[in-house]
Structure formats: structure tokens, C-alpha cells
Symmetry: C2
Subunit: 392 residues, 2 copies
């Protein structure tokens, strides 16, 4: 049972009627915070604001709206984000500097502040009336299902919980893209350790997924650790810290995979591993080149065992490749050996793999020890439909 | 009238029956050659072969098959490419080292050599029986129309012709992708000048287009200059060379635009210009980031004036951007001023621009003098359909 956090979610009429679109995560005590933000040069107002606020080291609350990204909205957008924290700070009776803001939705349209001014006091008054699952629902945009995960562990005999919600759908790629993830834990964690573990877990989860290769203006992943579980403070280099790290990584990876499974128009969940690269960085570069290739992704959608497109994508990734050493597998079916199609019944068996909804691609470059795994979806008619009609 | 070149095109049954799929460009005398090849690390056999052959400086012929890329085919694939030149050299009674080879089509499948062994003597015997337009038809894969252009100019009172064919459709991006272009001219051009002008013209044409951001294993652009027009040799730094350069650039740009217009599933032709960047290289990087964004391209398909996605793509391009100085136009409709939506009727007027089949996007970063223009298409249902079903 997660201690010391309370939640709220209301309708602010930013999205269509009948849908939650404003959510609050509230910690009863100041919580240590660690964060990862988009690396896009065009950052939304809430990202710019949060980047400053997290320097304080602790926060009390996170307010999230969906339906409007408050991005490309300039100084008025920043004023709107700040005004959001002011109203909410009044309602919650906490300093406005202790409230982080996140927004997701359409870019370039001012926040509907009249509606927010009406809804924020209701949100503050509703603290504790919602669950984390309601928060997961309220932050959805084109997501088709809410994404929530939790893990239990203990330290010094004291149980603690890590729970998280995320939203994704489109514009997902490394360095995060329009992805929001909010993790809460009642564990007490030494601040620098929290930062480090959160960054590491991000790299292998939210920074290892891609739906369409687009990077958002709003990506934000936050963790709040309020220590309400009462465990002995988790310190670097201890078995307890390693256990926390494992649980956190597992939770983030599960959320990341849910984002891919719910990728816009996705009909396939594909795990792409490149091994034998000269470095882990080159392996990841190659895996991402495969995962982001429109030709590869349409072949996945068409259930076409077109390994040549995967080769072409690896070859264009700007990494070391020796074609005649390279192997390729679809699940356990070897398609290519020493750079050449193996023949026989590989085409039929490979096609059978691609007909599954969940399969793996392995490329072994046989050049070194670098390895990386990324997760992606296919490129379908529905991806086009969803994104062609997004604002209508 | 182009002098000293003859053409042939036959059916070799590599593609479906009734379609030309084997073509020959033949020069009556050795022609100076200049070439640009794919930068993909996974190069098809004919690319590897041609890279060696063009070092000789002159060639007599180019043989092209469509329907099979002879890529990822290893040593047997190279043997097949060489065997192709041997058979054709016998038929044409020219050294096999003077014959370049190009292939386009499916990757990873061996060339059907029995069919080629039967067809190549027919091809050699048919020299002069086809036109360059037949060559344009024979090199098509998913292209919906043949691409052919020609220009006339003169030097020292002697008229000469530059003519060219290209194929594209999918897998088009800078550094060329599955694109083949064969240019022939009867002008006499100093060899180094020919190399330089061809590279420069490529940079602003075939290297400035993108359909899907994928890079092919087979991209090849060649120019053959045989001097049959009898003009005084074109030398660097002369007005005649400048006139040739202008005609060549214009021809390549026209072919490149035809490739984009025929992009797989394309319903829009979009000219994307980024100006005011700190350098031309950054301008091109940003323009390409916009042109390759799946979210931007689906918005074009949906005729959605979603300029925020263009901002997000520019911001993710890894270049210098100051959001609050940036302007954005759809044709002559200003959408964004100082980083902010201009409001008023811009949404309606911008939407009207996107409803056209041919429009321009201008992003002005107001940071420097760097400028670049690239050409792209939208991302439609049909792109997905064509590429999901490509091999079936």
C-alpha cells in the first residue's frame, strides 16, 4: 500500500466532454524528485518551468492536463503554467514552487485558462478522491488504454511501493518524445542515488522505445520519493539500493513496453536486438535505425519477412558493419548467415514468426561485444489515419 | 538531337510478364563517366562493381535491370553482376570492364541468371531499337510513370544535349536511397569538371529529396559524356561550363522533383525551405528533419495546418533554434511570428494552402544566413499499402 500520496482527477473540459483531463499527484510531505525531460530545442512551457523547479530538490505535487500541450505558446504560455501553480498552491495550501506542471496534447494553442481557473480549485478540493488509475486515465491523449504499474519491495524489513503511470501513443522515440511518466514511491532514497537510478532506468526503458521516430516538445518523466514507508534511507552501493534499482527498472520497462503496445495504430510489438557491435552505442544506433525505418515497419505490418530492408537500415545507421559476417533471426528462425539468405524453408518459417503479434528481431554483427535492445511497433494504416485526423 | 548514344530495352521476365525490365545505354565511343553511389554500408553487388569500374574514367555502356536489386547476395551476387557484363561485352563486342551495371528491386534474392543469360544477347542485338523513354520505362519498379528529361545548350556555336532518366518511388532520401539516375550528354566535358559539376548538381537535387527517410543499398547516379556533339571541350571557369552546369542542375532537379511527385502513395508535393539558420548545413538538417517526420507527413496527408509538429521537428534536428525568433509560412500565409501563432484567420488560410496538391513550407530561424530547400511528399494510406504488400 503506497503511503503518503493522494490523487485527484477531474474534467476541465479541455478534452471532449465526459473525459478526465486534469490530474493531481499530491505528496503529504515534501518528496525528493528526479526528472528527465525532452531534449527537443523547442520545449513546452511546463518543461521549461519544471526544469527550474526540480532544482529545488523536493516537491509536493504534480499537476497534469491532457488535451493541450502548452507548447509553442511563448511568454503567455509560461504565464499560464505559473498561474496554474499559483491557483493550485492556494487550493492545496502549499508553496507554488513545490508544484510541477505537465501538459500533453495539441501544440501551439493557448491553454483554455478560464476552464482551468474553474477546474483547479475543484481539483485541489478533490485530493484523495481519486486513485492513481484515475490519474493514468486523465493523462491519456490518443492512448487506447491507461498505463499503470506497481512493484513492492522492502528495505530493512520495511515494505515500500513503487508505482507509476505513463502516457504515450505517438511521437515516441528515444530522448523520449510525447511521453509523460510519473513515478511515485514511498521509499526513502538518498537524493543523488535517486537521480542516478532514475536516469539509468530511463535509458533502458523510455529511451529504448520508438513508435514513429518523432521527438516531442513535452516529454517528461518524474519520480517522487517521499519516504512515507519509513524504511532506512537507501544509500548507494548497498544491496537495498540494488533491489530498489531492479524494481524501478522493471517498472519503467513495463510502462515503456505498454507505450509501444499502444503505439498509434500498432498491430505488432517488436523487440529488436543488435549484438556483436563494436560498442553498445553503435548497437543502439543500429537497433534504432531498424526500429525507425518506415520500410521495415510497413513490412512488419504486412507480415513480410523482408530481411533485406532490415539489412539496408543497419547499413544506413552509420556504424561498423561487415555484411558477410552478419546474421539475422526472426525469433529462433535464422534468416541470414554470413550475410546471405539461408534458403530452405526459412522464408516460410520467418513469415510464420511475423504473423505473430509479438516477435523478436536479432541482428548479430559479429564484430564486438556491443549489444542493445529496443522496442517498437509497426506502421499501419491506422497510424496514418490517427495522425492525419489528429486535430479534427 | 542527342548524338552517339543508342538504347535498347527488352523483357527478361524478371518483373511480371509484359513489362520491360532490362535496359541498355550504349555509347558509340568511350564516354567520360562521373558517378555518385549510395553511402549505405550494405551496398549491392552492382554498386561495388561500378565503384571499381568508374575509376577507369570512361565507359561504353550501362546495363540496368529492374525487379531484383542483387543486394545482400554476397559473392554469388558479385559473380552474377560480372557475368552480366561478360555476356553483354561479347554481344556488343566491347571490353566487359567498360560496362556498368545497375539493379533495382527486391533485396536478398539471387538474380535469375538463366533468364538474364537468355535476355542479354537479345538486348545486345537490339541496340538502337529503343529510345531513352523505353529505358525510363524499363527501370521502373513501383514508379507509376517513367521519368525522363532533356535540355539543349550550345558551346562555341555547337549545340549539345543533356538527357536523363530516373526511377525512385520509395526508399528515397538524401545520400540517395533506391534511386537510379542515368544522364547522357553528347557534350565534350573535361573529366574533372564533369565530376565536380555532377556532384554539385546531385547535392541540390537527388540529395535534397526524401520520401520516407530510408536509404537504399543500390542508389546510383551516373553521367556519361561522349563528346559526339563535337563542341570545344568544356573547361573549368568558362562561361560555357557555367551554362552546362546550369542546364545539368536544372535537369537533375526536374528529375528529382519527378521522383518526389511519384513518391509511394504521395498525394502532396511539398517544398520545404529553412532559412536564417547559422549555416547552410544546419538549414538542410532542419529541412530534412521536417521532411522526414512521420507526424508532419501525416498532417500534410490530412491537410492539417499543424505547424506545431513542424516546430517540434525543427527543434529535434539538433541545430541552433531560438523559438521566439522563429517564423513559419505555408506558401504566403504567415502562421507563426516570433515563435507564436499569429491568430486571426491564419488557421483557415493555412488550411486552404494545405488543401492544394503542391505547396511550400518556409521556416525562418532569424539566426544567420544558412538556407536550404528540400522536396518531399506526404505519408498516406497508400504508402503503407504499397510497402506492406511489396513482395506479394
Amino acid at each position: 500500500m503506497l503511503k503518503g500520496f493522494r490523487f485527484a482527477a477531474v474534467e476541465a473540459a479541455i478534452k471532449k466532454p465526459g473525459r478526465l483531463d486534469l490530474a493531481l499527484i499530491f505528496s503529504e510531505e515534501p518528496a525528493q524528485v528526479a526528472a528527465v525531460f525532452t531534449t527537443n530545442k523547442v520545449k513546452a512551457a511546463p518543461v521549461l518551468l519544471d526544469e527550474e523547479l526540480v532544482k529545488g530538490g523536493t516537491v509536493r505535487a504534480v499537476v497534469v492536463n491532457s488535451g493541450n500541450a502548452n507548447a509553442c505558446t511563448g511568454a503567455p504560455g509560461m504565464a499560464d503554467a505559473i498561474e496554474t501553480t499559483r491557483i493550485l498552491g492556494n487550493g492545496l495550501m502549499i508553496p507554488m514552487e513545490q508544484i510541477l506542471v505537465a501538459s500533453t496534447g495539441v501544440i501551439g494553442v493557448p491553454l483554455p485558462m478560464e476552464r482551468l481557473q474553474a477546474a483547479l480549485p475543484r481539483l485541489a478540493a478533490a485530493v484523495g478522491e481519486a486513485s492513481l488509475a484515475d490519474v493514468a486515465a486523465a493523462i491519456m491523449t490518443t492512448d487506447t488504454f491507461p498505463k499503470i504499474e506497481s512493484r513492492q519491495a522492502e528495505a530493512g524489513g520495511v515494505p515500500y511501493t513503487i508505482a507509476g503511470v505513463a502516457k504515450g501513443a505517438g511521437m515516441i522515440r528515444p530522448d523520449m518524445a510525447t511521453m509523460l511518466a510519473f513515478i511515485v514511491t514511498d521509499a526513502a532514497v538518498e537524493p543523488q542515488l535517486l537521480q542516478q537510478l532514475f536516469r539509468e532506468a530511463n535509458e533502458l526503458s523510455f529511451n529504448s522505445i520508438t513508435v514513429d521516430g518523432d521527438m516531442s516538445t513535452n516529454d517528461t518523466a518524474l519520480i517522487l520519493a517521499n519516504g512515507a514507508a519509513g524504511n532506512p534511507l537507501l544509500l548507494p552501493g548497498t544491496p537495498e539500493a540494488a533491489q530498489f534499482a531492479a524494481a524501478l527498472s522493471d517498472l519503467l520497462l513495463s510502462l515503456a513496453k505498454l507505450i509501444v503496445r499502444d503505439g498509434e495504430g500498432a498491430t505488432k510489438f517488436v523487440t529488436i536486438t543488435v549484438k556483436g557491435a563494436v560498442s553498445a552505442a553503435e548497437a543502439k544506433q543500429a537497433a534504432m535505425a531498424v526500429a525507425n525505418s518506415s520500410l521495415v515497419k510497413t513490412a512488419f505490418f504486412g507480415q513480410d519477412a523482408n530481411w533485406g530492408r532490415i539489412f539496408a537500415a543497419v547499413g544506413s545507421a552509420g556504424i561498423h558493419v561487415e555484411q558477410l559476417r552478419t546474421e539475422l533471426f526472426f525469433d529462433d528462425v535464422q534468416m541470414v548467415s554470413n550475410g546471405l539468405f539461408v534458403g530452405g524453408d526459412a522464408e516460410a518459417r520467418g513469415t510464420a514468426v511475423l504473423q505473430k503479434s509479438d516477435f523478436a528481431v536479432l541482428v548479430d554483427l559479429h564484430l564486438g561485444n556491443g549489444e542493445a535492445t529496443v522496442y517498437t511497433s509497426d506502421l499501419s494504416y491506422d497510424y496514418v489515419k490517427i495522425n492525419a485526423d489528429y486535430r479534427t
